[in-house]
C-alpha cells in the first residue's frame, strides 16, 4: 500500500469473519454479545464463524431474532496444508457442505482439534463463500479460485500494528495476480475493546502460560473488535470496494438456521398408518393394559385432550420414537421409567413411558406440552444403570449412526474453575489459587471484600489477587469445553450430518452433534434423554430375587399400592437404601413429615431440596400440616395453585403459575423463568426476570418479604429443585423400594449390594442394616460364594445372604466368574492348589481371596492360607504346584481378624468394632443407638460409634451433620460451627468417636446436639472410611 489512511465514509458493512467464545479460548465475546453489538453498530449482517465448529450458532440465531440482525452461519476451517479459511453458507446445500466439512475436520482428531486438507475443501465448494485468511501462496489461491469461482475472496484486515502496511501490500498484490477480490474484515475476536484483558486471559489459558510469559502472543491492541460501518469506512478508505464486497457476499448468503427442516424418523409407523393413528392405537392398547377393569372417564378425557394437542403440534412421531425405545427396553427386561415433565402425560402413562397414574394424581399436561410454547416436549427416561448401554446401542443400530447422535453439553466456566484458570494465568502460586477458589462463593458481589481476602490468607493490596478475582468474574459463564450430555439423543429422518456437524466423543462408540442440549430446540431439533438410574437396577434385581426365591411376581406397576406397613416404616425413618429418602436430611424429616400416602412422598422428596429450604418453605409447611398454623394465601389468586401444598409453594410448576397469577407474567415469560432457573448455575444470573417478578408481586399487594422468599426459592431451584411431575415419577420408585425393603429385606439388601456403586451407604452399612432387620448373613466362602451376593436357604423358608466375591477389593470379576463356573461344573475344591489350577487363577487373585478369608474351607487359618498361597507358582504351566516350606506364624487375635476383614472387604461379619467394646461402654454409661431412641429430649448422654457420613450443606450456615453408626443403628449428630472449630482435629481425624451430646426430639425425629468429642479407645480398622459430602 505504502500510503497512509484517509478518512472516508461508507454507510454499509457486513462483518464476515467473527469468532465468538465458542471458538474455545479464542473469542472473548458470547454470540449474544456479538449480535447485540452488531445491531447497535448498524451492521448489514454479521457472520458467526467459529473455528472448526458451529457450537454457538443456535444462541446467535436466537439473539439475532430478538435484535432483528441478520447473521450469516459459517465457520473457520483449519486447513492442514495451508492457512485458514472462513466459509459461509449461501443456501441449505452450502450449509450441508459446511457441516460435512466440519465433520471431516473433526474426525480422527483429538478432542477440540480439527483440520482438513485443502483438497477436501475444494471438493465441497458448492453453496459456500470462501474468505481466505492469512498468507496464501499464489498457487493455492488459484486452486481455490478454480473451485469457488466468484465466491472466493481474500480477507483484507487492519490490525493497527506495525505490519499493517506490509500486510495490505501483500494482499493487494496477491489479489491483483490471482484476480480474487479483496473483502474487508475485522477478523473479529471481541465485540468491544474492553474485552482485551479477557482476550489475553483466554489466550494464556489456551497456550498454558502466564500473562508475564505470553509477551507478543497476546493481541497488540484491541483492533480485532466488531466495528461500525463508519469506523470500517475510515479504516478502509483507501479500498472502499472491499467494504462493498462484504455487502455483496452477505447478500448472496441467504441461508438461515430457520431453513433447517428437522423431521422425525418414519420407520416407527407401520405402512398404512399415519403417526397420529398409530399413536392413538398404541395408546388405546396401553390403556387396556394399564386399566384392565376399564379406563376411568377422567383419564379417557385427558388422553383425548392430549392426543388432540399432540396432533395439532405435529408431535406424534416424537412420542412414538420414545415409545419405540421404551418398548425395546421392556422386551429386553430392562427396567425403565420416564421422569420429568413427561409424568404429566396420560398418553406417556398409557404407552408405559411413565409410571404415574393420571387417575390418582393431579397432572398438568401444559407443563409438558403447551400450544403457546410450541416447542417439542422433553421426555426423559431412566434406564437401569448397568444396562443403559444396551439401549444406546439399540438406538444407534435402529436408526444408524448417520441419523442418531448424542447431543453436546457446553461446559461453561463457573466460579471455581474460572478462579483456578485465571489464577494460573496470573501466576499465582497453586496454594493461593486453591485458597481463592475455595473461598469463591462470596465473589459474586461486585465489591471485592478485603476482609474476606485476608481471612483466606490473601493480601488485598496485591493487584494480582484483585485482578484475578475481577477477571475470574469476567470469565464466568464463558464456554470452557464441550462434553457429551449424559443421555441426550437426537434422531432424525434424514442424515443428521446435513443438519449439524457430528464429531466423535471421547468415549468409544459414541458420536455427538455440535449443539448443546439447551440450544437444539432453538433450531427445532428434538431430543430424547436416555438416562441411567442405579435404583432401577436394584429394583429389577430385587424383583428377580423375589420371584426366584419367594415365587412372587412383582413389577413396578403391580407393586401393591398404599401399604400402611410400608408407610409405618418410612415414618420411623427406617429407610436406609430406599430411593431418595435415605439421606440424613430426608431421614430427619420423615418422622416430622409422617408421610401416609403417595402424594406425601411426592412432597417429601421435593421439600428437602435447596429450593424450598432456601425459600424458607419447610417449616411453614410442617406447621400447617400439623395444624399448628392456619392455611392462608398471600393473594386469593394463589389458592388454586397452592391448595394441594397447604398454601406453601414447593414445586417448580407452582412458582411458574404464581408468576402468571400474581407476577403479571405471560405463560411464555413464566416458561422463560423456568429456563432461567435451570440455567442459573450455568450462567450465574436470573437476569431481569427476578426483578420483574418481585415488582409484579408488589403491584398485586404481596408483601416484600414473601416476594423475596419466592426469589430465593427460584435460586434454590436453580441449584436443585424438583418439578412436581418429576417428584411424582421418583416417588413411585421411593414407594416401590420402600415396599421391597419392608417385605423382602434380604432380597433388597442383596440387590443393593449387587448394584453398587449407588446410594449413600457403604456395603458395610447396608449389611449391618439388614442384620438389624433380622436378616442372617453368611460369610464369604470359596465353596459357596458367587460373584454377586446371593440368597441361600436356611431350610425353614428363610433366606440368608451369602456374601459374594464382588465384595472382595481387587478381585477381578473374570476370576470370580471362572471360580463360579468351574465349581458348578466340577464340584467343590479340594485344596488351594486345585482351586488355582481349575479356576486358572494367578497368584494375585489367590492372594486376594486368602486375605479376605474366602479360603477357610480349604485352609482353616487365614494366615496359613496367605502363606500357602504365596508359595504357589505363578506361571500358568505350574499352576496348582505349591512350595511346601512351612513356617509358624503368629496366631491372629480377634482384632487382627477384624482388621483383615475390613482391609479386604471394608466390612466384618464376625467382629463389629463397637460390639467388641460394648461391655466396657455399657459399664461407662454409654448408650447404644437403639437405647437413644428411648431417651427423652433434653438429656445429656454419651454415645460411641463409627462415622458413616459427615456433611456440611451450603444451606446450613456452617452446621455439620454427622451420621454415627453402631451395632444397633444410626444416630444423627448435629455439630454447631463453634463446637466444630474447637474440636476440628478430633472430629475430622477419627472415624471411631465418643460423643457427649444433648438429645433433641422433634416428634419422633431424634438428633444429638454434640458438645464434646473424644477418640474412641477401641480396635481401629485400617480401612474404615466415612463418606463425606458437601
Amino acid at each position: 500500500m505504502g500510503c497512509a489512511w484517509v478518512v472516508g465514509s461508507v454507510s454499509q458493512f457486513a462483518e464476515l469473519v467473527c469468532r465468538t467464545a465458542f471458538s474455545f479460548h479464542e473469542g472473548a465475546s458470547q454470540p449474544e454479545e456479538i449480535v447485540a453489538q452488531a445491531a447497535e453498530a448498524g451492521l448489514h449482517a454479521v457472520a458467526i464463524t467459529d473455528r472448526d465448529g458451529v457450537y454457538g450458532l443456535p444462541r446467535a440465531h436466537k439473539a439475532a431474532q430478538a435484535h432483528g440482525v441478520r447473521i450469516l452461519p459459517g465457520a473457520l476451517l483449519t486447513i492442514s496444508d495451508g492457512p485458514g479459511v472462513a466459509l459461509l453458507a449461501r443456501d441449505v446445500g452450502g450449509w450441508s457442505q459446511l457441516t460435512r466439512l466440519i465433520t471431516t475436520a473433526r474426525k480422527d482428531m483429538k478432542k477440540g482439534w480439527g483440520q482438513i486438507p485443502l483438497s477436501d475443501l475444494l471438493e465441497r465448494a458448492c453453496g459456500l463463500e470462501a474468505i481466505l485468511l492469512g498468507s496464501w501462496s499464489i498457487d493455492r489461491v488459484h486452486q481455490v479460485r478454480e473451485a469457488f469461482g466468484v465466491h472466493a475472496s481474500l480477507a483484507l484486515t487492519r490490525r493497527l500494528d506495525s505490519h499493517d502496511v506490509a500486510r495490505w501490500d501483500q494482499r493487494t498484490v496477491l489479489s491483483a495476480k490471482t484476480q480474487v477480490p479483496l473483502v474487508a474484515t475485522g477478523d473479529v475476536l471481541m465485540h468491544d475493546p474492553s474485552r482485551l484483558p479477557l482476550q489475553d486471559i483466554l489466550t494464556c489459558i489456551r497456550r498454558k502460560c502466564t500473562v508475564d510469559q505470553a509477551g507478543t502472543q497476546l493481541q497488540a491492541n484491541s483492533a480485532r473488535t466488531l466495528r461500525s460501518p463508519e469506523a470500517m469506512g475510515r479504516m478502509f478508505a483507501a479500498a472502499p470496494s472491499t467494504l462493498e464486497r462484504s455487502i455483496e457476499i452477505a447478500d448472496r448468503c441467504q441461508f438461515s438456521l430457520c431453513d433447517l427442516r428437522y423431521r422425525y424418523p418414519k420407520e416407527i409407523v407401520p405402512e398404512g398408518w399415519t403417526p397420529i393413528q398409530w399413536l392413538r392405537h398404541q395408546t388405546e392398547l396401553g390403556l387396556q393394559w394399564r386399566y384392565p377393569d376399564g379406563t376411568p372417564h377422567a383419564v379417557l378425557q385427558q388422553v383425548e385432550h392430549e392426543l388432540t394437542l399432540i396432533e395439532h403440534l405435529d408431535f406424534p412421531a416424537y412420542f412414538l420414537t420414545v415409545y419405540d425405545v421404551v418398548r425395546f427396553a421392556r422386551d429386553k427386561g430392562i427396567l425403565c421409567q420416564g421422569r420429568g415433565s413427561a409424568a404429566n402425560s396420560a398418553v406417556c402413562f398409557a404407552l408405559g413411558i411413565t409410571a404415574v397414574d393420571p387417575a390418582t394424581s393431579s397432572i398438568l399436561f401444559e407443563r409438558f406440552i403447551s400450544e403457546e410454547r410450541g416447542e417439542p416436549p422433553d421426555i426423559d427416561v431412566d434406564f437401569e444403570h448397568e444396562r443403559r448401554e444396551e439401549v444406546l446401542q439399540y438406538v444407534y443400530e435402529r436408526y444408524g449412526r448417520h441419523r442418531a447422535a448424542m447431543v453436546n453439553e457446553v461446559i461453561s466456566y463457573r466460579r471455581r474453575s474460572a478462579i483456578r484458570d485465571v489464577g494460573k494465568v496470573m501466576g499465582l502460586d497453586p496454594d493461593q489459587i486453591d485458597r481463592t477458589a475455595k473461598g469463591a462463593h462470596w465473589f459474586d458481589r461486585t465489591q471485592i471484600n478485603d476482609n474476606k481476602l485476608r481471612e483466606i490468607g490473601l493480601d488485598p493490596r496485591d493487584p494480582r489477587v484483585r485482578q484475578t478475582i475481577i477477571m475470574a468474574q469476567a470469565l464466568r459463564g464463558m464456554p470452557r469445553h464441550v462434553g457429551v450430555h449424559t443421555g441426550g439423543f437426537t434422531i432424525s429422518d434424514g442424515p443428521l450430518i446435513e443438519l449439524c456437524p457430528i464429531e466423535p466423543a471421547t468415549m468409544a462408540n459414541r458420536t455427538v452433534i455440535q449443539w448443546d442440549k439447551d440450544d437444539i430446540d432453538i433450531v427445532g431439533f428434538v431430543k430424547v434423554d436416555l438416562l441411567s438410574l442405579g435404583m432401577l437396577t436394584a429394583i429389577r434385581k430385587s424383583f428377580e430375587l423375589v420371584q426366584q426365591h419367594w415365587g412372587r411376581v412383582v413389577t413396578l406397576a403391580t407393586t401393591p399400592n398404599e401399604d400402611g406397613a410400608v408407610y409405618d416404616m418410612v415414618c420411623k425413618a427406617d429407610t436406609m437404601g430406599v430411593f431418595q429418602i435415605e439421606s440424613r436430611a430426608q431421614m430427619s424429616m420423615l418422622p416430622r413429615m409422617q408421610p401416609r400416602c403417595f402424594y406425601d412422598l411426592v412432597i417429601q422428596v421435593s421439600i428437602v431440596r435447596p429450593g424450598p429450604i432456601q425459600g424458607g418453605m419447610v417449616h411453614p409447611y410442617l406447621r400447617r400440616r400439623r395444624g399448628e398454623e392456619d392455611i392462608t394465601y398471600a393473594h386469593p389468586d394463589l389458592e388454586p395453585i397452592l391448595a394441594r401444598t397447604l398454601g406453601v409453594p414447593i414445586f417448580q410448576e407452582q412458582v411458574m403459575s404464581m408468576a402468571v397469577a400474581v407476577g403479571n407474567f405471560t405463560p411464555g415469560q413464566a416458561d422463560e423463568l423456568r429456563r432461567a432457573m435451570g440455567a442459573w448455575r450455568k450462567r450465574g444470573t436470573l437476569g431481569p426476570l427476578a426483578e420483574k417478578l418481585v415488582q409484579g408481586m408488589k403491584n398485586n399487594g404481596i408483601k416484600d418479604e414473601y416476594a423475596a422468599q419466592i426469589c430465593d426459592q427460584i435460586r434454590g431451584f436453580g441449584e436443585y429443585g424438583f418439578p412436581e411431575s418429576h417428584a411424582a415419577s421418583f416417588s413411585r420408585l421411593v414407594y416401590v423400594s420402600a415396599w421391597l425393603k419392608h417385605h423382602y429385606p434380604a432380597a433388597f439388601c442383596v440387590a443393593l449390594l449387587n448394584s453398587q456403586p449407588m446410594g449413600f451407604y457403604s456395603a458395610r452399612s447396608l449389611i449391618d442394616d439388614a442384620r438389624r432387620h433380622g436378616v442372617k448373613v453368611r460369610s464369604i466362602d470359596i465353596q459357596h460364594s458367587h460373584w454377586n451376593n446371593t440368597l441361600e436357604s436356611s431350610g425353614d423358608d428363610e433366606w440368608e445372604i451369602r456374601i459374594g466375591l464382588r465384595q472382595i477389593r481387587g478381585l477381578a470379576q473374570s476370576a470370580a466368574l471362572r471360580i463360579e463356573q468351574d465349581r458348578s461344573a466340577h464340584g467343590p475344591y479340594q485344596s488351594i492348589g486345585s482351586l488355582q489350577k481349575r479356576a486358572q487363577l494367578n497368584r494375585a487373585a489367590m492372594d486376594t481371596l486368602a486375605q479376605a478369608g474366602a479360603l477357610r474351607a480349604l485352609v482353616q487359618d487365614r494366615r496359613q492360607a496367605i502363606w500357602s498361597v504365596r508359595g504357589l507358582y505363578d506361571l500358568p504351566l505350574f499352576r496348582g504346584i505349591e512350595r511346601t516350606l512351612d513356617v509358624t506364624l503368629p496366631t491372629p487375635t480377634t482384632v487382627d481378624e477384624m482388621k483383615s476383614d475390613y482391609r479386604s472387604m471394608g466390612l466384618s461379619l464376625a467382629h463389629n468394632p463397637l460390639g467388641m467394646v460394648r461391655e466396657r461402654l455399657n459399664r461407662e454409661g454409654f448408650l447404644s443407638a437403639a437405647e437413644v431412641q428411648q431417651t427423652p429430649g433434653g438429656r445429656t448422654i454419651r454415645v460411641a460409634g463409627m462415622v458413616a457420613h459427615r456433611q456440611r450443606p451450603s444451606t446450613a450456615n456452617g452446621i455439620i451433620f454427622m451420621t454415627l453408626e453402631d451395632e444397633t443403628g444410626l444416630l444423627n449428630v448435629v455439630i454447631k460451627p463453634n463446637t466444630f472449630e474447637q474440636q476440628r482435629n478430633t472430629i475430622l481425624q477419627h472415624n471411631l468417636l465418643e460423643i457427649t451430646a444433648t438429645v433433641q426430639r422433634d416428634g419422633d425425629s431424634i438428633s444429638l446436639l454434640a458438645a464434646r468429642f473424644e477418640p474412641l479407645n477401641a480396635p481401629q480398622p485400617d480401612e474404615i472410611k466415612s463418606r463425606d459430602f458437601q
Binding site: E26, D161, R207, C209, R464, R863, G871, L885, P890, S900
Partner: protein
Amino acid sequence: MSASWIVLSPGPVYTEHMFRYLVAHVPSFRLDRCGWSPNQPVILVAEQSNALRVQAATPVALAAGIRPGMSVAAARALVPHVETELLDTEAEAEDLHALTTQLLRVSPSIAAMPPDTVVAEITRQPEIRTGQERALVERVRIRMNQLGHSANIVVADDPTTAHHVARWCSDNTIIPSGQGARALEHLPLAALSIPPRDLERFDNLGITTIGRFAQLPPAALSGRFSPPTLTAHALACGRAPSPTITPWSEEGPLSLTQELPDEVVELEALLFVINALVRDLTTRLLTRGLATTQLGLVFRLDDGRQQSVSLRLGTPTRNHSAILDQIRHRLGRFTLSGPVVALILTVPNPTPFDGRQIDLRDPRRMDEAIDAVSAQLQDALGNRSVLTARTIPRHRPEGAWRPVPFGTTVPRDGNASATALAESHQTDPVDAWMGHPLALMPERPPIMMSPPQAIEVEAGPITEGFPVSAVHVDGRWHAITHSQGPEHLAGEWWAHPFQRTYWQATLDDGRTLWLYREHGRWAVHGWWDR
C-alpha cells in the same frame, strides 16, 4: 544441645575388611531449610496426581494429624491456618548438597540420601581406629547444630542399616560392628524398604517387626516375595552388602581458600600466594575437564571485612599464565584497605573445556579477538559497562529489549518456561492459522530513547491521517513532511497498563522520529539514523 546416646554392646573386633558409615538424618530438614520453625504449623507441598499434596510437615503440623501424602485441602481441614511452602526440588537438592559437604570434615567419601539424610564413609578415619567413634559423632552433631539442624546420627557397618535406624530412632546411635541386625530387630517392618504390597502381606501374616521378619527362613521367602523384600530380609539378618561411596566430586562453584600464617599488606607478596592458588585451581579444572570464563578473588581482612575482585576471562580457559596475567593486570589498579588474613579464589560457573585457547598473537585468529577485547573492556570498565541488547517478545517497546553483559550465553528467557512456550507454539491449533505475528519482529527505530521524552507538538490539519503539523525538537520547530501509522499498542493491564498510538514522522531536516500519544500527551521514543 545435649544428645542422648545408645551404644550397643561391642561386637566383633574391627578388622581391615569392614566398613563403617556415619549417617545424619535431619527429620525437619525440608522445612528447616525454608526458614520455618518446628513450632509453626507448616507443610511442604507439591503437585502430585493433579492435586496439591503434603510432602513434609513440621512437628506441630504432624501432631495435628497432618500426614505426608494428604491433600492440602484435607490438611487445611485439620489445621485451617496451616502455612504452606511450595516444594522447590532443585533448591532442596542444592541445600542437601551443601549440607552433605559439611561431612567433608570427617571424610572425603560422602553422599546425599535425598531428601533429608547425608552419609559419610568413615572407615579410614583415625577415630575409628582409636575407638573414638563417639567423638566423631559428637563433632558432626555439633556442626549440624551450628548449621541450625537437629540430626539423628548413627554409625553402622552399612549406610542402609544406619539410615533405617536414624529415621526411626530419635537417639544418636553407634552400632558396633556386626550388630546391625540387632539394632534393627525392634523396629517396625515398615522401617525397611519393602514394597507396600509385600508390607501389607506381612501385616496380614502377623509379622510386624524386623526381628520377627528376620526369623523367617530365607528359603521360604524366595519365590514368595519380591526381590526388594529378599534384599530387605538379608539386611534384617545382618547380611547387607556395603556399598562403596564414591569420593566426593564437586560440581558447580569451585572454591579454594588459603589462610595466611601472618597478616600480609603487600600485593606483591599476595601474588605469590595467588600464584599457588591459581596453579591449584587450574589443576583441579584440568582433572575435571573444565575451564572458566570468570574468577572471583576475595581478600579477607583482619577486621573481618572482605574486599572482592571479579574477573572475566573472555573465552573459557584453564591456562595458568593467562589467568595469572589477568589477575596481575587487575591488581595493578587495586588498593587493599587493610591487612589480609586469608585469600579465597572461586570459579562461580565452571564450563566444559573445548580444547581451544585464544591466542591474540596468532593472526589466523584475529576474528576471535573480540572476546578477549570485550573481556579486557569488561575487566577495565566493569561487568555492566560492556553490553549488548537482547530482544524480548513484549508489546511495550521499552520492555521489548534489555541490556545484558556482552557475551552472555544464557537462554533468551533464562528459564524453562521459554522452552515450554516454544514447544506449545508447535502444537497450538490457532498457530496453524495464518502465521502468528509472533514470528515477525515489529519494525523499531535503531535508536531508542530510554525513557521516552515528552515533546511539544503543533496540532495541524490531518495529513495522511496524522494530526500533527510540527514538532519542537532540538530547540526549534520542525515541520512534518511525511508520516506513517498509526500503530496501536496496549496491554499489561495486570501490572502497568499502557495504551499508545505510535507514528513515524519525517521532519523537514530529513530525520524520522518515532513518537506516540498516550492520554493526550506526546513523547518521542526513538529515531532512525537515515
